[in-house]
Amino acid sequence: VSDRDEISAYVLGDLEPAAAERLRAREAADPGFAAEVAAVRALVAQLGDLGPEEWDPVEPPPLRYAPQPAPRRRSWWRPVTLRPALAVTAAVLLLGVGVAIGALVAGGGGGGGGGGGRVVALAPVGQAPRSADGTADLRDGTMRLSARGLPGNARGDFYEVWMMRSPTDLVSVGSFTVGTDGRATVDMPVTASTARYPIIDVSLEPGDGNPGHSGMSVLRSRPI
């Protein structure tokens, strides 16, 4: 039993006679203790005086006043303090913004492989083997084209990558050759906009010196 509990019991008259007598003596001899007892007695008297309105307070009316938040201070300089979690979040956001801006800049502003990180599936078309396929990973103003299952190139011919809007509106992205394993992975800069040229096409080009599309597509994407 703490001293305070004992005082409360004493004031409430709950102590055994011997204990009560001991506290009475201490109260008479110790002014500090007597003050504490007097405070508890006053509290007990207050409790006894409380009326129904204090024991069962009525619900206050709703607060009608709607304060406005403090206006934000504007200053040219103020120390910046960041919590670790906030700092990490800010760093990630800044990195994302930087990557996006980099992609736009490298892609010629509004051009280029559609911004940060888009992988487009390529499916066989025309005379290409049904097992042929590939992907075009458009990222940071470049295209990484991966293909497999393509016939190996014969002497002089090659594959050419296009970005198309229609059979007559298209731009060349680059060219590559495939060995006997039928695989190729090539990185090519992309300056055209995927918004303008949404289809990626791979054609087999004969080495005839004609810079136009041969009409022999082997892989093609759906519109991006």
């Binding site: 509990d5 509290l43 409380l50 309105e53 009525v58 206050p60």
Partner: protein, 222 residues
Amino acid sequence: VVERRRATTAAFRAAYPEEHVSFAGYTVWTGSLARPRTIAAEPRRPLDRAERRLVARLRSRDPDALAEAYRAYGAATFGLLLRLLRDRGAAEDVQQQVFVEVWRRAEEYDPRRGGILTWVLTIARSRAIDHLRKRVPEPRDPHDQLPRSVEAKTDEPIDRWRVAHMLGRLSAEERLLLRMRFYEDMSQTEISAATGIPLGTVKARMVRGLARLREMIEAEEA
């Protein structure tokens, strides 16, 4: 008194529905004393820390802080105003003024002079006095002080409402036992009989509640 006792006993039984059984016309407490239960125990918030946070938010002009202050102290100020003004309409109007002032004067609050409850109650008292001054029949000298009797009778209710507010911070069980003792005028034996709690336990819990009440008031005054 009989009605009050019935209401309180009913509240107690409602709080322990599974631990009372009716037997031969009596309701008998069956709760296990081996596992002390807190009846719908309310969270006991750390007094100083919570108040410090609230004051800091008020000072930083956080509107939610005012709503929180109103939830915490609105009942006490409204009770005080009702007692001082004896006019519900006036009390409602002054209540709004009090919390506008709490918002506007948060910077002036000095924790060294007392707890936030005391500060808010003091504002309420001041606004109540202002309102009472307006009621003094005309004509009167505007330099006259408010009649002493009016000011004097506003002191004691602050203390009452401070205690009433602190009662609300006790656990439901502690508050109930103190209510039975001091409001229902029940002896501890009668409380024991009404609740089924052994007499010794009633005494111990009542003592503890009183001691906690005293601690909270000291903290408020510190």
